[in-house]
Symmetry: C2
Subunit: 149 residues, 2 copies
């Protein structure tokens, strides 16, 4: 369990298997996401550290949940919606997403967007907005232009 | 609490304050270590993510403890003792240190060594070796040449 897993370049690591992300891969709202689980329960940690990569133009589902996200951007450029604000992000910006805050990551059209994401090992399931919540978010013109679903 | 903290270059971040590391700064075994706390309890996480940087030739104290460490190297080069094995490390190698495993990080003479270190927010205190334990470790010739204390 203890030891070193070598970095292979290209955001790939020894013994870590990239997996297309999401139990809802074939549903709208997921597009071009790969997850690699770097650290977690097998080491006895109360948290998991994952590396996510979005293809150019890829995006995560718009969602919120009681568990927090702590993110460090590693590669590329993109934008993130947090609550009702949109932020440009680039390596090694730190992104804090507190409990029950709407969020969505989007990669720029010309680059992938790679980031580390730290979450508690014990956590609730993410929740997408209801139609009503989505309508309310879309009343902000800037959010309406940003949100992809 | 939610939002983006910009990366300023040089492994410094907006709103994050570098602090010389260690309650035992003036004791032997600590040398040239700076800690920056990136994420933790303030976000409601069960874990903390810190960035440590050792000066060239710097090293962490040889210690062990029941809590695990998950480390991603970010900068420079160095070596790490894990249990009774010594590993060369470079960016973005992943280092797993399980419960109660002896470990010591050392930076190469010509470069700093910077790394992310993930730990549980609730954790026990690190423990250096007793004289007897240190003697036992030093019976391995390779470890004896490596260990600094």
């Amino acid at each position: 369990m203890s030891g070193v897993a070598r970095y292979h370049g290209g955001f790939r690591w020894e013994g870590v298997h990239p997996e297309p992300y999401g139990p809802e891969l074939d549903r709208p709202g997921f597009q071009g996401i790969v997850r690699q689980r770097l650290f977690g329960r097998e080491l006895g940690l109360a948290a998991e550290l994952r590396y996510f990569e979005l293809d150019p133009n890829g995006y995560t589902r718009l969602e919120r949940h009681p568990h927090a996200h702590a993110v460090m951007v590693m590669r590329g450029r993109g934008r993130v919606l947090i609550g009702d604000r949109i932020h440009e992000i680039e390596p090694f910006d730190l992104v804090s997403i507190g409990p029950d805050v709407w969020h969505q990551f989007q990669a720029d059209p010309s680059t992938p967007l790679g980031f580390l994401c730290l979450v508690d090992a014990d956590r609730d399931r993410p929740r997408p907005p209801s139609e009503r919540e989505l309508e309310a978010l879309r009343r902000h013109p800037e959010l309406s232009r940003f949100i992809r679903s």
